[in-house]
Symmetry: C2
Subunit: 389 residues, 2 copies
């Protein structure tokens, strides 16, 4: 189970006819309270889809009762008409549930630049509210309805020491194709917390989980992560306790996103240690994770440390102070580069496992940072070059 495991939540997913395939494409998640605490983080792309613009202002008061999500269309780059569509979606669901439209969050995913088919979408919402339910089937249908190029639904849950439950669903085939596979995540909890606590827990959790997945450096116009808190457990955990559970669910979902990345044959974990600061470590890890030459080499099962060192060398000294002569690189446990030069033979490295661990030691401090990415494969090129209409 996932989003309705915490007390106080119902959900449903169904085919509304937005996708031409007839697959499920609409999900509604309802917080029955008693609290309606909510927090969210959104894409930092300056091009923001209409549902992101809507949800940003709706969440400003730290409250939300429900989330409606659709696949089959991103409603991005659709102008004032697209925003009116998101607004109308929220108003229609609000009427059905007898709540304020300002308590409705909207998420969309699919092609950029096309209007949503509003008639089937609104009709789908009318049907959906009659089918809201708690339990495994409700969670399953909701998690499936938000899939695009995902091959499997992503769900997770965790329980804190004081008995608070956190559940979550996610969609996104990695971040590999954000135009078609935007990352959407809804987390629920029955913790009895206020908006400031929910916001702090969500931001702390996403900064070390979803923010560290970087499959192809391409940022979506629609990325959204939402946390709803019902208060139905009657338990108010500490911020640390809540953060830990939200982080655990987020980390699990983030790992599932990487594992299902479009066309990938390796999940790549880049860990940079002995950096002067965590930001330095992350900058080096991200540069390595974004190097097409490193990613193509991993696809070819080549622990090509020269490309890893060259990528690290592209980070400006002001961002990450280190000396090339102190740099070491370990791939899947074999230290192939030491002191900036060749060390153990790279033929010793076993690159056949799905997971590739790249450890870079900068010899410049004691901070660490990590990024998850994927390799660059023929299937990635294929899936992202097929004509998208």
């Amino acid at each position: 189970m996932s989003i309705t495991r915490p007390r106080g939540f119902r959900a449903v997913g169904l085919p509304a006819g937005i996708k031409s395939t007839g697959a499920a494409d609409l999900a509604v998640i309802l917080n029955d309270g008693p609290r309606d605490t909510a927090a969210a983080v959104f894409t930092s792309n300056r091009v923001q889809a209409a549902p992101v613009l809507w949800s940003r202002q709706a969440i400003a008061d730290g409250r939300a009762r429900t989330v409606v999500l659709n696949s089959g269309g991103a409603n991005a780059c659709t102008g004032p008409e697209g925003f009116a569509d998101s607004h109308r979606t929220a108003e229609h669901l609000a009427e059905q549930l007898e709540v304020s439209a300002q308590d409705v969050l909207v998420c969309s995913t699919g092609l950029i630049g096309e209007r949503l088919p509003m008639e089937p979408l609104l009709a789908g919402i009318t049907t959906a509210v009659t089918q809201l339910d708690a339990g495994p089937q409700a969670d399953e249908s909701a998690s499936r309805a938000i899939m695009t190029t995902d091959s499997v639904p992503k769900t997770s849950e965790a329980t804190t020491p004081s008995g608070v439950v956190v559940g979550g669903i996610a969609k996104g085939a990695g971040m590999l194709a954000p135009q078609l596979a935007t990352m959407l995540v809804v987390l629920t909890t029955d913790a009895d917390v206020d908006a400031a606590t929910a916001d702090a827990a969500l931001r702390a959790a996403t900064s070390t989980t979803f923010d560290r997945v970087d499959s192809d450096a391409c940022m979506s116009t629609n990325d959204t992560v939402i946390l709803l808190a019902s208060g139905a457990s009657g338990v108010t955990p500490s911020l640390e306790e809540l953060t830990e559970a939200v982080r655990a669910v987020s980390a699990d979902l983030a790992r599932q996103l990487v594992a299902d990345a479009e066309g990938a044959s390796h999940d790549v974990h880049v860990v940079v240690s002995s950096a002067s600061t965590e930001q330095s470590a992350l900058a080096v890890a991200r540069e390595i994770a974004r190097s097409n030459l490193v990613k193509a080499a991993i696809f070819g099962n080549d622990p090509n440390w020269g490309r890893i060192v060259a990528a690290a060398g592209c980070v400006p000294e002001a961002v990450a102070p280190f000396s090339v002569d102190d740099l070491s690189v370990t791939v899947n446990g074999i230290q192939v580069c030491r002191g900036g030069g060749a060390h153990r033979d790279r033929s010793e490295v076993d690159m056949t496992p799905r997971e590739t661990l790249i450890e870079v030691d900068l010899g410049a401090g004691d901070a660490t940072g990590d990024i998850w990415t994927n390799d660059l494969t023929h299937d990635y090129v294929e899936e992202n070059s097929a004509y998208s209409s």
Copy 2:
């Protein structure tokens, strides 16, 4: 002809046995004077190959008599021993030519992390100096000896109004695989100019030519562009006149590098206009040129403006102020996006030509900037994932 078209230069290329294939792998270019003016620009990667470290200090006085270039090994990440190899290379050539080692520049290209085979290299230099010559055959042999994955040699020349000649050779299969295909360029001129003029002309020319080629955002450890001036014409052109000719030869060579990029099926010219500053325009153009999603779409002959707009949106507002609502995108002459939304149908765009022109209008000023790149193809993945040893 190319590097020996300007008066005062001789050159040669030959197989020294550095490459196991027996192909040509060593070139020497000699400036017979009367002047020995020289300027150079190098990679800004913090990981600098031994020949780059050597040449940087050798060029510091604005003088050089000769350049020795090898393919078949980059001599990068080879530590103090690698630096000693570059030093020994320079000393050996200096002895043969009876010049100072400080007047010898060294360039290498090939695999990172391996020492060069010094015996055949030094023996090759001894042979090379006996074969130095001017003319089409000398130019041809030198331009071929520096090739790695290049499919054709790259040469160019230009003559200024006052009769000064500039010639050049280049290697690099785009910047697509800098580890194996570092960009090395040697330009020669018979202009009678001092080091400050040569340096100014070279920097002005490279900033709008080689610096604007960005095939895969990966920066080599060995990139080097050298300008040698013999003064043999007896003509001292103005800085503007010399710069124009150096720029023309550099632009021609840069365009040849893009056209020969490994595995590419499209040469992509990204032109960003109506920006607040040239730097803003270049930042947006570079972000688009580096987007794997944009590049994969072009491989699929898809003028996917949503991905172009999403890439532009990743540039921070402080770097490039513009409003998404003012943005337009024109692909091969068809304006597919206007005012941030869909405009003409993308099926109208003919993507079959090798050259793809992406024009982005930011509506935020009157500055322009452009970047050349390539598409992301199966062949790119294939060539860069094959085990490199």
